[in-house]
Symmetry: C2
Subunit: 302 residues, 2 copies
């Protein structure tokens, strides 16, 4: 049986691997690390990269926290006790180039020990999703193809289920648009789903290790393309939608704000520069209009 | 007895007066108007000014809506029926100058007709609050002095009560800082508070008519000062806090998003350009540090 210490150790190593790869891809900026401790128990390593050749602002965070879960979070997670452990790696990258997409990755594990007459609680969650400022069909196909290949190694069910879950989760209800082209999202994955705990842990790590090569490919495909100031302005507008999603809907952000997490680590996902224009209307027939028309649920990108 | 039609008509006139004054102050930009209708009943006039000499983005919105209040909003407002009418004027102005403050004003009226065996429900709400990017003590004193003078004309109790209410309401909990230097905020003001409905309506209109002269003074005091790029960057950072408050905490924004209001009117309050820097630390002894140190509840600005 895998232990929580083993899971945290492997997640930490995945954080290390990803940071090394991203620094190599960027070629200029280095991650700065902030180690922090949580008052109630545990802590983390926040790593932020800024003002790089290609990465304008990005965070690759590891945390492993434990203690007493507030009543409001017990209710939200539908659990009946308060002694908890949670560990995870969480990433958001905002590139400085409008043709390079924003990306988000998270892998996480949650555990509550057995109480008197109670079974222990444990589950894995996570996913990867992509938010291109401009949707490039080939890139979308490549990205979803990589995720499908990873999922299919573990369970034929995973890609269709987790792809739909991502569509439903990364949805900006008040705009009636998806945050981007989705990807995969899963939560409360447990061994009763037809695979063993070892398999699920292996899946979690494989998702974690899919992030860096997939994003490297997407960065390198687009980083040398020229772009206009108009495209950059559009990028800033798309980033404001990203901020809206994270501040209004994102469960991880809410969890962090409500449990008094480290604010700068939680909100590292917010964009370096964002613009809100009133009543913006894209030019008819332009790439901006095309991207908006594709920000909907249920698109088969492969 | 004043009617809801009378209140809506007077509010509309206040919108007109304010727009004329702000256009004169700006000297370049004009408001663009969008008339909209709400599917469930009523509508509004959204007026937005952009890219002016001094007003980078601002909205002066009037609405008068009616219909059936969703269950979730009945619960939030603690009312027991669904037939409602609401009208109000709502303003947010983002200037392009870091030494000119952001301002917000709102006056509103809510009504539910008598049901079988039920008394009618009606109340007024509103307020004005200021968010300087840099706190200027003289300006803070002037602003709060104006508000106190208006309040004192109606009730000695109003300024201390509504000033504290603003401190508590315009508070960014996860940052442990107030949105700005506050002002006045009141909600569910009814005739049983020791003044008549006519008085309350008069107070509401007086608050509405205090906005333009007070803000004009603050704009004109500061608009010709030179500023550095560093100060402008700081302005963009303060705007990101404004966006955080409005998206995470503001009741009006929540009301709008949950009742499927007109998104562009609701979110006109969001800043034209905002920046999120990771782990920003102000220079010791600088104006930025001083402003941060004053963003707390309970400061006596007068």
């Amino acid at each position: 049986m895998i232990t929580k210490e083993q899971i945290a150790a492997d997640y930490q190593q995945i954080q290390d691997e990803i940071c090394l790869t991203l620094e190599a891809v960027d070629g200029k900026a280095k991650f700065e690390e902030e180690k922090w401790e949580r008052e109630g128990g545990g802590g983390g390593r926040t790593r932020v990269i800024q003002n790089g050749n290609i990465f304008e602002k990005g965070g690759v965070n590891f945390s492993a926290v434990h203690g007493t879960l507030p009543a409001v979070m017990q209710k939200a997670l539908k659990v009946d006790r308060d002694d908890f452990f949670a560990t995870g790696v969480s990433i958001v990258i905002h590139p400085n180039h409008p043709l390079v997409p924003i990306i988000h990755m998270n892998i996480r594990y949650f555990e509550m020990p057995a109480g008197s007459g109670q079974e222990p609680v444990r589950w894995f969650g996570g996913g990867i999703d992509l938010t291109p400022h401009y949707i490039i069909d080939d890139d979308a196909r490549y990205f979803h193809g990589q995720l499908k290949a990873v999922c299919d190694k573990f369970n034929d069910d995973f890609y269709p289920r987790f792809k739909q879950w991502a569509d439903d989760y990364f949805f900006i209800k008040h705009r009636n648009e998806t945050r981007g082209i989705g990807g995969i999202f899963y939560d409360k994955l447990v061994a009763t789903d037809g695979i063993t705990w070892d398999n699920i842990f292996d899946f979690s790590k494989t998702v974690g290790r899919t992030f860096a090569p997939a994003y490297t490919e997407l960065v390198n495909r687009n980083r040398d393309k020229t772009f206009t100031d108009e495209q950059q302005q559009w990028q800033y507008q798309r980033r404001s939608r990203y901020a809206e999603f994270n501040l209004v809907y994102d469960a991880g952000t809410k969890f962090g704000l409500e449990t008094n997490g480290r604010i700068e680590s939680i909100l590292m996902s917010l964009p370096p520069t964002a613009k809100w224009l009133y009543n913006y209307q894209p030019k008819a027939g332009g790439e901006e209009e095309r991207t908006l028309s594709l920000l909907k649920k249920g698109v088969d990108w492969i």
